[in-house]
């Protein structure tokens, strides 16, 4: 809990540091701040508590999600060097400060116990992301991505709010516990019609935010247009926070409405898998392929949500962590290669720009390979166990169609992830050695080793609570 106060204040401090210190020093300071707030978050472990007028709830689940979010932010900050934007016109302190603020929003989103807290957290996160998406001011693609993200994001917020209002109208409270109680005790016949409409609208709003299938159309454009370092942040932090919040919302207050929301989630998860994986096959740009892959991973996570087992929360936690580690490395390598290729080829983010990467940069190639293998779900990487837990959750419900579909879709996934691996190892290219700053090297190897470690010992995270 203290971590949100600390992060808000340190974010402001960060802005002031920008007056005196160089970018490198501010980066180090931001890393220090994030490490400190992670320690503060971890201190609440096993102390389940309600804060701020019962609006904020720290449980072991919410603490683990907060830690994942801060870990992702830590890695993203380590990867940041100049943000891929022209050094001359940037004020790096602002970007670091906005990153810290958005982490505050994400933490609120995973530990809310009141819908106002949830809404404020969601908006802190989203508004910060709109700014970061458009941070490459003179680049038209970044502008376009920012406008699309902003319009779609606030549209989704509007839908979500209307849903929250209808739920409030039906239950007369914003507290999750009260809502759950009212829904459970009111007989079916006297429940207002708009309760289930409200629940469905809330789900639609969420599906926009986590980019599930019929509402995913903004994702590839935004992920491609944003500076890669912020795409990395968006695809890990926003997604993990969104899924944690959706899980908390569906199983907490709407737990007894399982029959209302399970079918939409169930069909949408299958649609998301189909759309995400099949479209990813046709992409030429690695960044866009990773955007579609993030859509398909949302599909796997939705499957485990629809199973609603006791183990669902730890499955989501494990999957988010494995996805976060792999995605950070994948986007990081895309960022480094694209920076190196700028001006040399027409499209620095295409598969063709990666050809021959392994010859001079074996370390970079190895990390990229491991992260793609993990995203594809190959054994001995974290991604394999993530998928395994998802499948076993839904299997326990004795529903088999999504499992069959998901297995076929993972096979398709292997195809497009291996396109990247083939390009770096088996194609001829003339990429010279890319010099990496020490922090980037550290973050890359830490994520890769984490992926391998979780692939060998999944129980470290899975049996956390």
């Amino acid at each position: 809990m203290n971590s949100i106060i600390a992060l808000s204040l340190l974010g402001i401090l960060n802005l002031f540091l920008g007056f005196w210190l160089s970018r490198k020093t501010i980066q180090a300071a931001t890393l220090l701040f994030l490490a400190g707030s992670m320690a503060l978050t971890a201190m609440d472990w096993n102390h389940e508590m309600l804060w701020y007028g019962r609006m904020f709830h720290t449980t072991n689940t919410s603490i683990s999600f907060s830690l994942i979010i801060q870990l992702a932010a830590f890695m993203v900050v380590s990867f940041s060097k100049g943000f891929g934007i022209d050094e001359e016109h940037t004020h790096p302190a602002e970007y670091y400060a906005i990153l810290l603020f958005s982490v505050v929003g994400a933490i609120l989103m995973v530990s809310f116990d009141h819908l106002i807290m949830f809404f404020v957290g969601l908006e802190i996160l989203s508004v910060a992301m709109y700014v970061l998406t458009g941070s490459d001011k003179r680049n038209l693609r970044s502008n376009e991505a920012a406008l699309k993200y902003f319009l779609m994001g606030s549209f989704a917020t509007g839908i979500l709010l209307f849903g929250i209002t209808l739920v409030y109208g039906a239950t007369r409270s914003f507290y999750l516990t009260n809502i759950a109680e009212v829904i459970a005790t009111t007989p079916q016949a006297s429940t207002p019609v708009f309760l289930s409409i409200g629940v469905l609208l809330i789900i639609v709003g969420f599906l926009f935010k986590i980019s599930a299938a019929p509402f995913h159309f903004w994702t590839p454009d935004v992920y491609e247009g944003a500076p890669t370092i912020f795409t990395m942040f968006m695809s890990t932090v926003v997604k993990a926070a969104g899924f944690a919040a959706l899980y908390q919302m569906l199983t907490g207050p709407f737990g007894s409405l399982y029959g209302t929301w399970v079918y939409p989630i169930y069909y949408i998860s299958m649609l998301t898998l189909l759309v995400g994986n099949i479209t990813a096959v046709y992409q030429q740009s690695v960044k866009r392929m990773l955007a579609y892959s993030s859509i398909s991973h949302a599909g796997y996570l939705l499957i485990t949500l629809s199973s609603n087992q006791a183990s669902t929360s730890s499955t989501i936690l494990y999957y988010s962590l494995s996805y976060t580690l792999a995605t950070i490395v994948a986007f990081g390598v895309v960022m480094l290669v694209a920076e190196y290729q700028t001006g040399r080829t027409e499209k620095p983010e295409n598969f063709s720009s990666f050809e021959g990467l392994a010859k001079q940069n074996p370390g970079l190639a190895f990390c990229f390979t491991i992260s793609l293998l993990s995203l594809a779900g190959i054994p001995l990487t974290a991604g394999f166990w993530g998928k395994f837990f998802v499948f076993s959750d839904i299997f326990n419900r004795h529903v088999y169609y999504p499992v069959i579909l998901a297995i076929i879709m993972s096979a398709i996934g292997v195809y497009y992830y291996f396109k990247g691996i083939i390009a770096i190892y088996f194609k001829e290219g003339d990429i010279e050695r890319i010099e990496l700053p020490a922090l980037v090297k550290f973050a890359m190897w830490a994520c890769t080793l984490g992926t391998l470690l979780l692939g060998v010992y999944p129980s470290i995270v899975k049996n956390l609570f």
Binding site: F119, N143, F162, Y168, F194, D221
Partner: protein, 109 residues
């Protein structure tokens, strides 16, 4: 003198729900059909205001202030969103001298 919640309660709750839903749908249609970024933006604001109206109505019907507190939060957050959104639109206008969202299709292919 009548207090405001009582005046609000002279109209049945269903009417408020109808009105807000209508405003909300107009907002959605605006977002989906209009091509000018500012108008789309206004349509989104209309959606948020439909929500505010409904929250205020529910809150006075149930004599529960929480709904009206939520309205304050929505208004504050919407103001922050407007600041960021208009900044994005100004940034685009500087680069391409237009705010038609149809022009922005660089990322499609």
């Amino acid at each position: 003198m009548q207090s405001i919640p009582e005046i609000i309660r002279t109209i049945p709750l269903t009417h408020y729900i109808m009105l807000s839903s209508a405003l909300f749908c107009i907002g959605i249609m605006g977002v989906l059909t209009r091509r000018n970024a500012i108008i789309v933006f206004m349509a989104i604001e209309l959606m948020l205001n439909a929500v505010n109206l409904l929250l205020a109505a529910f809150s006075s019907y149930y004599s529960d202030p929480a709904g009206q507190i939520f309205v304050f939060f929505i208004m504050a957050v919407a103001a922050a969103e407007v600041a960021v959104g208009l900044a994005i639109i100004v940034m685009i206008y500087r680069n391409i001298q237009s705010i038609d969202i149809g022009v922005l299709n660089k990322l499609k292919n």
